[in-house]
């Protein structure tokens, strides 16, 4: 019970810091907008005759993959900040001195990161759908489930590695280098599930992919939770 309260306190503190500075959110918003524009310049808004499906532009065809690339690239900005701010203010020392289980610190940081990432996705998903002309309003509930599960796996490993690399001088290089190979399974499952949601699911595979994604999340979450206390040791 005490651990739950400690985790909630950490979430409140992180969200309050973020609400006052808006540093992570502003950086992410601009970066996400840039990524979306770069995609559309690189892949073109016109309908190519051969590669995409009938009546689809390349951007529409590739949207599930592009969306997740944008989420991961943008999300890493906020993840790397989440322990950097603790280091800068000496807050990590205090977190280490907290009584109780260090899993509470991980849970708190993870939930706070997920809320910030979720806020970014709440803007990124509809804006990209509008820009690339995707019809997803009827599929929104299923899409939200997929995005939530994908973000959970990403944030779990991301929070863990952010803690691990927070002391490094080269943390901005090392975080993506270490994080991206680990989230390959999340990428595969999340993009597959998103494609099934958006493009229809004639074979009824969506449920299977959602379960795969959930399973990956559980494994990654378990490993990260169990080893987190060693990650913030000093």
């Amino acid at each position: 019970m005490g651990d739950l309260r400690r985790a909630m306190a950490l979430v409140r503190k992180d969200l309050l810091t973020e609400r006052r500075s808006k540093a992570a959110f502003n950086a992410m918003a601009f970066f996400a907008a840039m990524v979306l524009f770069i995609f559309s310049f690189a892949l073109g808004p016109d309908a190519p005759s051969m590669s995409a499906g009938p009546g689809q532009t390349l951007l529409q065809y590739l949207w599930p993959g592009l969306l997740w690339v944008a989420i991961f690239f943008t999300g890493i900005l906020s993840l790397s900040r989440s322990f950097q701010i603790e280091i800068e203010s000496g807050g990590l020392e205090a977190l280490r001195l907290y009584p109780g289980d260090k899993k509470a610190v991980f849970a708190g940081k993870l939930v706070a990161n997920m809320i910030v990432l979720g806020a970014m996705e709440l803007i990124l998903v509809p804006v990209s759908a509008v820009l690339y002309n995707i019809d997803l309003w009827t599929k929104l509930p299923a899409l939200m489930g997929v995005v939530l599960l994908g973000t959970l796996g990403f944030a779990a490993v991301g929070t863990f590695y952010a803690a691990l690399t927070s002391n490094l001088r080269a943390r901005d290089v090392m975080l993506p280098v270490l994080l991206f190979p680990i989230i390959v399974p999340v990428v595969v499952a999340a993009v597959k599930a998103t494609t099934l949601v958006v493009r229809g699911d004639p074979m009824g595979e969506l449920w299977t992919w959602l379960r795969i994604l959930g399973l990956i999340d559980i494994v990654l979450l378990t490993v990260c939770t169990l080893t987190f206390e060693f990650a913030i040791e000093d």
Partner: protein, 255 residues
């Protein structure tokens, strides 16, 4: 054959990690050097025999022609890769539990030698894939998984280079090795459900006996060479590590 080789490899690794990581500070330098030399010489000898058997003595394959002969290097490389990463994983877990630097040196040696064999396997595989499949690379589960493994452990080595404090380096890199290793099967299965192409492994029943013999000799040669390299790398890491700890101690004493 696959299971026997795997058993031998796993046993060799566990013995290596336990003996070298724990006891080596007590074991004399000369004994270890001599053991490494004997292993290395035996490995080289078997490598020469195996290469002769595989490249000259074994018959040409029915369909693939002579290009199949790259398997005498390709398969044993994966045994070396598996052995190296498994060593790194086991040693990392032991480091986190016991905090003995010996295990950190073993983990570094395992990761580095594993990466070496991993890259060898990827390159020989690509060279074989071009004449057989028509492409150097495909996004098959095994190819993808091994490539991700290489990136993961390359990241592990880069990370070590950025960490100067011996304690933090050992602790942080152990965690990276543990998570990276646990991730390997997850990558494999997720990509497998995504798409698949790689041919199933041949069993000894479906290939010619001379080929099996040549392959076995090569496997044993690679395992011996792996152990030799692992020992050498371990001794080097220990030498550097002790020097580093000594420097830290002197600095503290000098204050």
């Amino acid at each position: 054959m696959g299971t026997v080789v795997l058993f031998v490899v796993v046993a060799a690794i566990v013995i290596f990690v336990l003996v070298y990581g724990m006891r080596l500070p007590g074991m004399s330098e000369n004994t270890m050097k001599r053991a490494a030399m004997i292993t290395g010489a035996l490995g080289l000898l078997l490598l020469a025999v195996g290469l002769y058997l595989g490249l000259v003595w074994a018959p040409t394959a029915e369909i693939m022609g002579d290009s199949y002969r790259i398997m005498y290097v390709h398969f044993p490389s994966w045994v070396g890769t598996a052995a190296g990463y498994l060593t790194a994983f086991v040693a990392s877990v032991l480091y986190i539990r016991t905090r003995k630097y010996g295990y950190d040196y073993v983990a570094l040696a395992g990761a580095e030698i594993g990466l070496l064999f991993n890259v060898t396997g990827l390159i020989t595989g690509a060279l074989w894939g071009r004449p057989t499949w028509g492409v150097y690379w495909t996004w098959d589960p095994r190819l993808t998984t091994t490539a991700i493994m290489a990136i993961t452990f390359a990241g592990y080595l880069v990370l070590r280079a950025f960490l100067e404090d011996p304690e933090a380096r050992a602790r942080v890199s152990s965690l990276v090795a543990i998570i990276g290793f646990v991730n390997v099967p997850i990558v494999y299965f997720s990509v497998r459900w995504w798409r698949t192409l790689h041919q199933v492994q041949s069993s000894p029943d479906t290939i010619d006996p001379p080929m099996v013999l040549a392959l076995r000799v090569m496997m044993i040669a690679f395992v011996l060479i792996f152990l030799f390299m692992l020992t050498q790398r371990f001794m080097l890491a220990r030498l550097r590590g002790e020097e580093e700890l000594e420097a830290v101690r002197l600095e503290v004493a000098g204050d």
